[in-house]
């Protein structure tokens, strides 16, 4: 990589928006996992046209190009594993339009998820997908990973809200798909292919997102359980009872305590599991009735305490606690492998039991939390990357967790994506035919393999030692 290339890129994106000094590109070398590899250059374009121009130069040079937003991802999707150019979209952070007549928003890829939510709520509208990192995460990143969040149980994931995209293709050509449309049956929807493709098929620079009316009422409650099994049984029974809550979140005893260490939110430290239940709706009584019904199920199953949040401040304290869970686990061990499995709702109790057994088998702490209501769980294997013995046990534990999920009719990822972390399991999860079709689609869009190369599909290194084979600088272990 020459500095003349850096200067050429600088002419496109402006002074100060191309970085190649070691002290600067290190900031673009990691994500929300423990992986790290430095790019050759980091470029921050301001417009779709600039993105297209940068991609054309990368194509000319045969240089990998990896798009990123906030890089808060949890699967290694933005790690520049083979070097190349990091295309930092954080500068394209504008909410271009909130269209109340068509009930949608037009955003640039780098716009922050929470900022869109706050902006649309001011005009009585609602953007439901709410990843826990919504304060930092970008909407472009959400589209690339098909992000979810606690509210997705009732409202669906990012995919369900994207009606239009502007995509820069590997050739540098700009493609506009969809529009401000509620329905679209004009052939198979190419747009859907880009959602969850993690920047491997094209680079999303703008999105049109569907909005909903903002629910007027919201009621939140917690139930504490003396055993995790009772809480997971409560989840299965609530979901079978005909209620569709807005949120049904599970935290186990370890996660309750680690988040209390940080926030002192008043969670019950002696409980082995906590359910966070929320219902929203057009009126308070309806929401309250559903929450009461959920609370009833919890009491029947031996919940030691059920509490309804009295006001917005109490509710916000509970949510702050829930959002802090994943990063707060960093207090316990230097590294964590955050899993994102999904199983059918009725299998949540079985999956949680399997995880407990795997933790015992490999003598590893594996706290569990997640969106229990939709079957999406986050068992987090805590470890120290500097211990090769531990790394090996983590590999086996992760493998067993994936396999248990698949055996129960589930899959690898509910909302984080595949990136580098789960790629070696793709054939087991999807079958060889689906993986080959996925690769064939990739070749159509990106014949030279320059867009975020190496992600999503298995490498030739295979499953054995998959963790040790990830891009990690020895001794350097962020995340």
């Amino acid at each position: 990589m020459t500095s003349s290339l850096a200067r050429e890129l600088e002419r496109i994106v402006g002074d100060g928006y191309v970085h190649d000094a070691p002290s600067e590109i290190i900031a673009y070398s990691y994500d929300g996992t423990f992986q790290q590899r430095r790019p050759d250059l980091a470029v921050s374009p301001a417009t779709t046209e600039q993105v297209a121009a940068v991609v054309k130069i990368a194509a000319r040079e045969g240089c990998p190009i990896i798009a990123r937003g906030a890089s808060s991802g949890l699967a290694g999707g933005t790690i520049p594993e083979r070097g190349g150019i990091i295309l930092n979209l954080a500068r394209m952070d504008r909410i271009l339009e909130i269209d109340t007549a068509n009930v949608c928003a037009v955003v640039e890829a780098g716009a922050i998820t929470l900022e869109l939510q706050q902006a649309v709520e001011k005009v009585g509208l609602f953007y439901p997908p709410d990843p826990a990192s919504s304060r930092q995460s970008t909407l472009g990143g959400n589209v690339a990973c098909n992000s979810g969040g606690p509210r997705c149980l009732k409202y669906g994931v990012t995919r369900d809200y994207v009606t239009g995209l502007t995509v820069v293709l590997a050739s540098g050509e700009v493609l506009k798909l969809g529009g401000k449309l509620t329905k679209n049956a004009t052939g198979p929807q190419l747009l859907q292919l880009f959602i969850g493709s993690e920047g491997t098929l094209g680079i999303v620079t703008e999105a049109i997102l569907k909005l909903l009316p903002l629910p007027r009422a919201r009621v939140t409650a917690t139930a504490a359980f003396p055993r995790v099994a009772h809480a997971s049984e409560a989840v299965a029974r609530i979901m079978a009872s005909g209620i569709l809550p807005c949120t049904l979140e599970l935290m186990d005893g370890t996660t309750i305590n680690v988040v209390e260490d940080f926030l002192e939110a008043g969670l019950p430290r002696d409980a082995q599991a906590l359910l966070l239940m929320e219902q929203d709706g057009a009126d308070e009584d309806m929401a309250r009735r559903d929450v009461e019904a959920m609370a009833g199920v919890c009491r029947e199953l031996g919940a030691s305490a059920v509490q309804v949040a009295r006001d917005a401040a109490e509710r916000e304290a509970l949510w702050a606690a829930r959002r802090a869970v994943s990063p707060a686990l960093g207090r316990l061990r230097p590294n964590k492998l955050g899993e994102d499995i999904v199983v059918p709702k009725s299998q949540v109790p079985a999956m949680i039991e399997d995880i407990a057994q795997i933790a015992r088998r490999y003598e590893l702490p594996i706290p569990v939390f997640g969106h229990a209501g939709d079957g999406n769980l986050h068992p987090n294997i805590l470890f120290d990357l500097r211990s090769s013995d531990e790394v090996h046990r983590v590999e086996l534990a992760a493998r067993d967790i994936f396999r248990a999920a698949i055996r129960l009719g589930g899959t690898l990822s509910g909302e984080h994506g595949i990136g580098t972390l789960k790629r070696e399991f793709m054939t087991e999860a999807q079958g060889p035919t689906a993986v080959e079709l996925g690769r064939a689609i990739k070749r159509v869009f990106d014949p030279r393999g320059l867009l975020n190369p190496g992600k999503l599909y298995p490498t030739d290194k295979g499953l054995e030692g998959f963790l040790a084979n990830l891009p990690v600088l020895a001794g350097f272990t962020p995340g």
Binding site: F262, P327, P478
Partner: protein, 367 residues
């Protein structure tokens, strides 16, 4: 930082520049679920990666802030500069612009006639409370520091200024001069013996004094010392005044000093105190956790970045429409005064409280 420590990044001047650009405002530590303590790490790093100091830094850390007597002497010189007509002349002739000092000079406080010189003097009766006078607060803001003692007396304390106290050492620590910071910390631990709270009216000093137990792991008295340290707002909020406050009809906004909000997690106490004064209307500003750009000596070492933060902070203050902005740290006071138009008053929280509890109301004064 970690990349350098673990040998993946060379210690180059541009790498150090990025790390020196950190405000050490603790906003990140305050919200870090993983519990990373940025200020401690930053300080340890600066100590290790310390470059050769300029004569100005050596002078500032060693001589000027190293001993209160020196600091007072310098403050008197500054007063001479301001009162003798030299300041008028220098500003008039554009001399400061030529020297590249006009922004820095604007930050200088107006130096009063009288300083607080801690010699064990005390006022009030009741529970003992020892006041930490500090360097800037005992000179440039001597009146505020006197008010602090009078307020404590009005809240039922015997407030004293223990002799032998020195500068808290925060500037030395942030600059990476750990040895000098430890010397000062030892002297303060020695000076503040006894019972009751150690009351501080500068957020930066308060955070520093609360960290003495980490700074002096081998000093058995440091732990007890640090636990006694209270910001003046904390100390007052947990006590009852001997007499109720008088009414002050005034709109105010509160600028949470980083070293109060983020480093000491103090945000409720000042609000509780303001709420207790009839007539005071508190209007919260946007981005309350944002640093004003003062950040120790940051506004001198990183003028451009600091000015950008100052603009944002002042715009947020103006949007509230409040008549006065209150804060609890001298750096913030100077930074806000330099950035806000004349119509908005910038005061220490203590001065407003003093007016409510210690100053006779205009009516009473007449009668």
């Amino acid at each position: 930082m970690r990349a350098i420590v673990e040998g993946h990044l060379e210690v180059t001047s541009d790498a150090l520049e990025h790390l020196d650009s950190c405000l050490l405002c603790e906003a990140c530590s305050h919200v870090c679920p993983s519990g990373v303590e940025m200020e401690r790490l930053g300080v340890a790093f600066r100590e290790t990666a310390r470059r050769k100091r300029s004569w100005a830094e050596r002078f500032a850390f060693g001589w000027l802030f190293g001993e209160l007597g020196h600091f007072r002497a310098a403050a008197r010189l500054l007063r001479l500069y301001q009162r003798s007509g030299l300041q008028w002349l220098a500003r008039r002739l554009g001399l400061l612009g030529l020297l590249g000092l006009s922004d820095t000079e604007r930050l200088l406080p107006d130096i009063p006639d009288r300083f607080v010189e801690p010699e064990g003097q005390a006022i009030g009766s009741g529970e003992p409370a020892q006041v930490f006078a500090g360097c800037v607060m005992s000179t440039a803001f001597a009146a505020t520091t006197e008010h602090t003692a009078e307020l404590l007396a009005a809240f039922g304390c015997q407030a004293s200024f223990p002799a032998g106290q020195v500068c808290c050492g925060a500037l030395q620590l942030h600059g990476g001069d750990l040895d000098r910071a430890r010397e000062l910390a030892h002297a303060n631990v020695e000076a503040f013996q006894g019972e009751g709270p150690i009351v501080v009216n500068a957020a930066g000093c308060g955070a520093m004094l609360k960290h003495y137990e980490q700074l002096l792991p081998d000093e058995p008295r440091a732990q007890a010392f640090s636990r006694r340290v209270k910001d003046v707002s904390e100390a007052l909020a947990e006590r009852h005044p001997l007499q109720g406050p008088r009414e002050i009809r005034h709109t105010v906004t509160l600028q949470d000093a980083c070293h109060l909000l983020h480093a000491q997690h103090v945000d409720k106490a000042p609000r509780k105190l303001l709420k207790a004064i009839p007539g005071v209307e508190l209007r919260e500003m946007a981005e309350p956790g944002l640093c004003c750009g003062s950040a120790g000596i940051y506004n001198v070492t990183h003028r451009q970045e600091s000015a950008e933060l100052q603009r944002r902070k002042c715009a947020n203050v103006l949007k509230t429409g409040a008549q006065t902005v209150l804060t609890g740290n001298p750096g913030c006071l100077l930074q806000l005064r330099a950035g806000l138009p004349k119509g908005v008053r910038v005061r220490h929280l203590v001065d407003l409280l003093w007016e409510a509890y210690c100053q006779p109301s205009p009516n009473e004064a007449v009668s």
